[in-house]
């Protein structure tokens, strides 16, 4: 098997705040092959965004990667110099976020912002950059790109601003695109357009994608594999279809069952009791144990004593749960 494009191992990213240490990412590991789409799913505070910021080397104090490795195409990024990081971030690993307009410079035209991304990666002169910017806008489905290239972010709708962000991300022809809740702020119809665009660009360019979302449906739309995060860890990872058909972790199962589509109309929904633990005060043992009904039924004591290590009950299906190992 060829070496993965990205390999994350034993990643721990902690935030040192007055009240204590927030272990936002607490032992995350996964691999991504070239051209693969991996969904990172979980509720707010589970560490999915901090994981992606750690990969891109964008963690700032009071946060710090305290342990672990992020290898991208053979280069170790944890502890790498700014020069190395800058040669990777942007041209080879690009990111798009939930709030595209907040990520765009309000006083710079769309064309110049794409041009800057091109300038960083290529030796193109100004007219060539302008031509390429128009091409990229056309590529991401913006009509009348000759006109739009001169416009400013406030003149764009939310969906168009996200297309511009994608055009900027594509400027360097990246090997990996990290998309952090790229459609969460958009209407469902525009969400469908953006997902369609990402899927199409991904298969045309052979780019790998990490798609971060709280919405399992969005992950199911375009991801090959999914990793479910809870309290700073990946609790389950497998092919998306297997996640739907045969989830193993009680948390994944709970998320699946609490979807309205899973119950009769107007009937009570299945719920996961309680709420996500406070990151400063994580329970001993498995973080999900206090909310886990199968644990109570099974009478397992290990769950509240020791955190489970990942096991693989099936080929390519990893789960952190005492019920399975």
């Amino acid at each position: 098997m060829t070496e993965p494009l990205l390999s994350v191992e034993g990643l721990h990213t902690h935030f040192f705040v007055d009240a204590g240490v927030v272990k936002a990412v607490d032992g995350v590991g996964f691999n991504i092959r070239r051209g693969e789409v991996v969904g990172l799913v979980g509720e707010s505070g589970c560490g999915k965004s901090v994981t992606s910021l750690s990969i891109a080397g964008l963690i700032e104090p009071p946060g710090r990667i305290v342990e672990g490795s992020v290898r991208f195409d053979g280069t170790e990024l944890v502890g790498a110099s700014e020069r190395v990081l800058n040669s990777v971030r942007g041209p080879r690993i690009a990111m798009i976020f939930q709030q595209p307009r907040a990520s765009l410079d309000p006083v710079m035209s769309v064309g110049r912002q794409i041009g800057q991304a091109l300038k960083a990666g290529t030796g193109m002169d100004r007219p060539a950059r302008r031509r390429r910017a128009v091409e990229l806008l056309d590529r991401v489905g913006i009509s009348d790109p000759e006109r739009r290239v001169r416009e400013y972010p406030h003149q764009l709708s939310g969906g168009m601003a996200q297309r511009v962000m994608i055009a900027i991300a594509l400027a360097g022809e990246p090997d990996l695109l990290i998309a952090d809740e790229p459609t969460t702020a958009l209407d469902v119809t525009v969400q469908a357009q953006i997902l369609e665009l990402l899927r199409e660009l991904q298969s045309a360019n052979g780019m790998a994608v990490i798609l971060i979302s709280h919405d399992l449906g969005v992950i199911a739309e375009i991801a090959d594999r999914a990793a479910v995060m809870y309290a700073g860890r990946i609790v389950e990872e497998c092919a998306v279809s297997e996640l739907y058909d045969a989830p193993l972790h009680p948390y994944t199962l709970g998320l699946m069952e609490s979807r309205p589509a899973a119950s009769q109309s107007k009937s009570r929904l299945r719920v996961i009791p309680g709420s996500v633990p406070v990151p400063l005060d994580l329970p001993v043992g498995c973080s999900f144990a206090p909310r886990c009904a199968p644990r109570v039924e099974s009478g397992l004591t290990a769950c509240t004593e020791q955190a489970p290590d990942p096991v693989s009950p099936r080929d390519g299906h990893h789960v952190r749960c005492w019920l399975h190992g």
């Binding site: 469902v188 119809t189 997902l195 199911a220 709420s275």
Partner: protein, 334 residues
């Protein structure tokens, strides 16, 4: 379009608790600069519907469709430009100060962001109690007791009742928002995106609470949300809004299984899949919802409609009954 009568628009069995007829809300937009050709912004442009006691009417559509404006108009939290709102037989838009205060007890609202409706320096119990005192429903000591009771009903402990808003989680705050509405013992609650800011596992808890309260007290809900799966689950009937108008309304199951308007079809097909293997025929709509200030001629959906005919950009389709209990504004149903 306005020719559809409210009584027909969304007929229900019982007498209407709430009846909205030809509701209009226009905003004057300052013209100038690049917006020079703007007319008034037609946020709501002739909307009619009924809600029976104990019933849930879901209101869906893209942002900018006018859903929230309808919700606020029903409670007269904003003053509509035209039309009528009748609640329990009384004319809401003509009510004087005293009558309005009485009406507000009977019709309440739950917002997406409950913290915006709470005083940051007051315990949430005090905030709930305050509502009771303002409405003259209880004196100070009684109001505290009632607040604790109602917070207990929504699943918050007496200790949590003494908390300040910032000490509670999003799900707990939404329980407070529901308790505030519930304390006055309303008949109708407008729920404006009540769970969209919450995590998935917490959403289900709040939806169950709303369902339980409805079964217990016979509450009616006007449930505004963009999450279609959720709306299908909680609603008896659903109305779909586009650019300030209702383009389709039907019993929830029928609307979702067999939509009669191309906009409803496109909206439903855009919902992310239930299963990765479910291959779907997606109708990808061109562009986004246009500005409601653009001059209108013909069907407002025609510019984005995959099935538009020549007629659609010339004439406005009437909102009419296309099958028993099912209403739509589209020439394709002629």
């Amino acid at each position: 379009m306005g020719s559809a009568t409210a009584s027909g628009a969304t007929a229900t069995a019982g007498p209407a608790l709430l009846e909205v007829t030809d509701l209009v809300k226009h905003y004057r937009v300052r013209s100038g600069g690049s917006m020079a050709r703007s007319g008034p912004l037609r946020a709501v442009d002739g909307v009619s519907f009924r809600v029976a006691a104990g019933e849930t009417l879901g209101l869906v559509g893209e942002s900018g469709g006018g859903k929230t404006t309808v919700g606020l108009s029903v409670l007269r939290l904003i003053q509509p430009s035209g039309g009528s709102v009748t609640f329990e037989g009384r004319d809401v838009l003509a009510a004087g100060r005293t009558e309005m205060k009485a009406l507000r007890q009977r019709m309440q609202i739950v917002f997406q962001d409950p913290i915006g409706a709470l005083d940051p320096r007051k315990s949430v119990g005090d905030s709930v109690a305050e509502g009771l005192r303002i409405q003259g429903l209880a004196f100070r000591s009684q109001s505290r007791q009632r607040a604790v009771e109602v917070l207990d009903r929504v699943g918050l402990t007496a200790a949590q009742a003494r908390s300040l808003p910032h000490e509670l989680s999003g799900g707990q705050l939404q329980r407070v928002g529901i308790a505030r509405a519930l304390a006055l013992d309303p008949r109708l609650v407008v729920c404006d995106e009540p769970v969209s800011a919450l995590d998935v596992s917490i959403q289900a808890q709040i939806i169950n609470l709303l369902l339980d309260l409805q079964a217990e007290r016979g509450l009616a809900y006007l449930f505004i949300a963009h999450d279609l799966a959720l709306v299908r689950h909680i609603s008896d009937r659903v109305a779909v809004m586009y650019l300030g108008r209702i383009v389709e309304s039907a019993p929830a199951g029928e609307l979702f299984d067999n939509p009669a308007h191309p906009y409803t079809r496109a909206l439903l097909s855009a919902v992310p899949t239930d299963h990765p293997a479910a291959a779907r025929q997606r109708i990808v709509l061109r562009g986004e919802i246009p500005s409601a200030t653009a001059p209108q001629r013909g069907c407002p959906f025609a510019p984005r409609c995959p099935d538009a005919m020549a007629k659609c950009s010339e004439e406005t389709p009437e909102f009419k009954e296309v099958a028993p209990g099912r209403w739509a504004a589209c020439f394709l149903n002629d």
